[in-house]
């Protein structure tokens, strides 16, 4: 029973990780760059949301709307000002640029919000739970999982069937050829980054209602997102979702074996996947 509970909690935790991983999968799939500030941006959005909720007395749902919009705006600016200059075949400049920005962001947040852990008051919903057989399942984690599933489905459909999705896939396959057929790669890149950071707006609200955030948490969220993308298979949207589930279950089960082993178990599963199936669960050979 304890293990089944671990499995259920792990899937619910995976819902949160999926929200981190989707944006990363999208950005890597299109631009072949890893944005090292991915986790820090999520923390930044969360801290802004917490401060706004405290200042203006907003509920979690209004904060969510604001953060998603703010995330999209940050994504656009990030793309225009920094990423467009470093996107290219050489991965070093983009990695170093976002790495430097990540250090700057973390310490700027430390300066503004101090190292305290904070959380967002989610009202009654944060504690509500319902009973399934002998188990109690939280309402909030289920909302998180459903949101993650809807976001994944929506993003996957958008990439497959819309005009924007076709432009995105064309740019990912060959930027120059895509530009010849009338696609503007810079706007495609900007849209991809805006969507990726906007999704972090969801993650920011759920993370800060569910648990706590502090300025130094970003790198850990980055690593979880990264592991989910690799476990699931690079370039696949549903793969990132599945990878997040695997990671969530590994951590949750590991935590039940020994509280010090939870996060480590996730890392170890990642390394095992890398050893036996480097292309990921849904990746093609």
């Amino acid at each position: 029973m304890q293990w089944f509970d671990g499995l259920v909690q792990g899937v619910l935790l995976g819902g949160l990780y999926a929200q981190y991983a989707l944006g990363m999968a999208l950005m890597f799939g299109v631009m072949r760059i890893v944005n090292v500030t991915h986790g820090d941006l999520m923390i930044l959005l969360a801290l802004v949301g917490i401060s706004m909720a405290a200042r203006f007395g907003l509920g979690p749902w209004s904060v969510l709307v604001i953060l998603v919009a703010l995330g999209a705006a940050i994504g656009l600016v990030l793309q225009r000002v920094i990423l467009n200059r470093v996107v290219g075949s050489d991965p070093l400049p983009s990695l170093i640029a976002t790495f430097g920005l990540s250090i700057a962001l973390q310490n700027a947040m430390l300066e503004i919000w101090s190292a305290d852990t904070r959380s967002l008051d989610g009202g009654a919903i944060a504690q509500a739970s319902f009973q399934v057989g002998p188990m109690f399942v939280g309402v909030l984690p289920v909302i998180v999982l459903v949101t993650a599933t809807v976001l994944t489905g929506g993003l996957d459909t958008a990439v497959r069937y819309t005009r924007f999705g076709r432009a995105l896939r064309a740019a990912a396959a060959d930027v120059d050829a895509a530009a010849m057929t009338g696609i503007n790669p810079k706007s495609v890149y900007a849209a991809a980054t805006a969507i990726a950071v906007a999704i972090l707006g969801f993650a920011a609200v759920f993370q800060s209602v569910r648990a706590t955030v502090s300025p130094a948490d970003g790198p850990f969220q980055l690593i979880y997102a990264f592991e989910a993308v690799i476990i699931g298979g690079m370039g696949s949207i549903w793969g990132a979702f599945l990878g997040a589930m695997v990671l969530g279950v590994s951590q949750s089960v590991g935590f039940r074996i020994n509280p010090g082993f939870g996060v480590l178990a996730g890392h170890l599963v990642f390394l095992i996947v890398l050893a036996v199936r480097p292309q990921g669960i849904l990746g093609k050979e």
């Binding site: 991965p91 430097g100 310490n107 300066e111 480590l264």
Partner: protein, 345 residues
């Protein structure tokens, strides 16, 4: 026709061996200064106070770690943000050898280098499947795994860390002599070794690899093997710095040993000093060290500036400070180029 000509040419004309200039005046001066610096560092116990020795050891460790990162990122295209894995594993191995197994600690600093080499093999085996930036974050995961695993490993006192109590059996002077000599040796191996490597045929292969892995492979460079060898060497060099650093500190804990700060420092030094040059590492280290001393008191605000400076360098000045200097004067300290001299008739 073409075939005949190419075979015939060496027979008909006895070509003089091409004359190649390898050394420059600036290079010879810098070589002399470097040797003096090594002698000065080795002789520190006889004239310097504890504080100065500590600072010099710290600077030297930064030089070594940054130079190893430079070899990876600047030449072989392997960007790592998890070099602290090798720092920590070597330092812990040294503490185990010296404190738990009772070996001579100065000997342990050399013997413990087996540990980063052993860790580097499976790490490369797993991570080389990842591409560019993903490789980098993969190295970070490995460092995190090492930190978490060490924190739960009771044999090395888990999260509470260890103290190098065996050092109390040596006098302060003996300790200073040991640390200074090891530091000089570390600089000789990491900087001097890199210099020799870059001047050798492997250096040519590395430069080719830096410019284009595909083209290098087509010229007969075994890209995978080169990268593997550089990865192992960099792990050992980084571990050497870690072992000396924590020997000087006498105390180790998992968060300190596997501190991501090491990767930040290496990246900052190399990016600001100049990627892909030995001179850049030395310039970058001096900038970092004095910036840290003077502005470190401003804490987070100072680190914001450091991060933004790294970002700025990556966006606008990829060659770093050394790249800017090179535009003005051509006087390499460590010449690794081969300059073909035209024969004057």
């Amino acid at each position: 026709m073409v075939k005949e000509a190419s075979i015939g040419a060496p027979l008909d004309v006895s070509e003089p061996a091409p004359r190649v200039q390898r050394q420059t005046l600036s290079g010879m001066i810098a070589m002399g200064i470097s040797l003096c610096v090594l002698v000065v560092i080795s002789s520190m116990p006889w004239w310097a106070d504890q504080g100065l020795i500590r600072s010099v050891v710290e600077i030297s460790c930064y030089v070594a770690v940054a130079q190893m990162w430079n070899l990876l990122a600047g030449y072989s295209g392997l960007v790592s943000v998890g070099q602290q894995a090798f720092i920590g594993v070597a330092a812990y191995a040294m503490f185990v050898l010296a404190q738990l197994w009772g070996l001579n600690p100065f000997l342990a600093v050399l013997l413990c280098l087996v540990a980063p080499a052993v860790l580097a093999v499976p790490t490369y085996g797993l991570l080389h499947r990842l591409d560019g930036p993903y490789f980098a974050i993969g190295t970070w995961v490995v460092a995190e795994v090492m930190r978490l695993a060490t924190s739960t490993f009771g044999y090395v006192n888990a999260g509470a860390g260890m103290s190098l109590r065996v050092m109390t059996s040596y006098s302060a002077e003996q300790r200073a002599i040991g640390v200074s000599l090891l530091t000089a040796l570390m600089l000789l191996v990491t900087v001097g070794g890199s210099f020799l490597l870059l001047r050798s045929r492997y250096g040519l292969a590395l430069v080719a690899l830096r410019d284009s892995p595909v083209a290098a492979a087509s010229q007969g460079v075994n890209v995978g093997r080169m990268r593997f060898l550089v990865w192992i060497s960099a792990a050992i060099g980084t571990g050497f710095a870690g072992a000396i650093y924590f020997m000087a500190h006498l105390r180790i804990t998992p968060p300190a040993a596997y501190d991501p700060k090491w990767a930040n420092v290496a990246i900052f030094i190399v990016m600001v000093g100049g990627l892909g040059s030995l001179e850049g590492v030395l310039i970058g280290t001096l900038i970092y060290f004095f910036a840290d001393r003077w502005f470190g008191q401003f804490g987070a605000a100072y680190l914001v500036v450091l991060g933004l400076l790294t970002l700025f360098m990556a966006l606008f000045a990829r060659g770093g400070v050394w790249g800017l200097i090179c535009r003005v004067v051509d006087a390499p300290w460590f010449p690794t180029r081969r300059k073909l001299l035209e024969d004057q008739p």
